[in-house]
Symmetry: C2
Subunit: 131 residues, 2 copies
DNA sequence: CGGAATGATACCAAACGGGTATCATTAAAT
DNA sequence: ATTTAATGATACCCGTTTGGTATCATTCCG
């Protein structure tokens, strides 16, 4: 039950790299070596980040990616949301059997609480913290 | 990223059923209907619980399973450990690239903290709480 | 002995995750 | 205008995990 998958991992590394590099844009080719991940794969990740507005893409020669927000404004939660879907501990696992009505299910309620607290924690971690 | 998988779910339901039933042993046949899961599947789960000492198995006619401990002594954490492996959020996802030395990796450290707090929470939930 | 229960194991199908390859599009440099 | 360096968009592959079923062996009560 990994909290974050490889996409989030690599994205974090790339963003840290970008935050450190003092350049308007950074190309995937530049990053892939230092980040330790194959180029095409990293590109796919960066594309998702671009679509989500976390980074800004510049096409053409001399182009690349640039952070769209300041490092301290990019939370781990956002990366998780974008790259592996919203954090849901709860898939409503008991169904109408023991607890009858959804709201009354004790376990579900407890897990929901855990989810809330975990969300608050991933929200508190930013790229700035990692750089 | 489910916190618990179906095995844990079904196990919890079965254990609640057993805790409520005032009988020395309960057979899978009795439970499978009420719990809402196919017999053979539930048996496989109960076997794992028996191996782990959570329940006690009685073979032969009139046999079945009985709780080996009181409901309040069976934690959600134990069920997770037995049925889906230890709860590890952390798979050490950054490797010697950005953080260089393992101990210094900020993200890893933060996730480890989250894991600790989450473990404490699942430890606090018992079958008694669900019954 | 015969039936009712668990023990152990093997198997299967679908979903998921991590990763690669390919072609199209854009824009700067020459 | 051509070339070249970059991203955009897809399609595909494959190994692992997961949820679930089937089968046979073993034990114990009556
Ligand atoms: S009914 Fe969905 S968890 Fe109780
Ligand atoms: S080295 Fe393993 S997470 Fe930093």
């Amino acid at each position: 039950m990994k909290l974050i998958n490889r996409d989030v991992d690599y994205a974090a590394r790339a963003l840290v790299f970008m935050a450190r590099a003092n350049k308007p844009t950074v190309s995937v080719a530049e990053m892939s070596g230092k980040v330790g991940v194959a180029g095409p794969f990293l590109r796919k990740i960066m594309q998702k980040l671009a679509k989500a507005g976390v980074v800004h893409a510049v096409k053409g020669k001399g182009g690349g990616f640039a952070m769209a927000r300041r490092p301290e404004a990019v939370t781990l939660r956002r990366l998780i949301d974008v790259l592996q879907g919203p954090l849901k501990l709860n898939d409503c696992v008991f169904r109408q059997r023991i607890c009858q009505n959804h709201a009354g299910c004790v376990l579900r309620h407890k897990i929901a609480g855990m989810e809330q607290r975990l969300l608050a924690e991933v929200e508190a971690v930013t790229v700035r913290d990692l750089a």
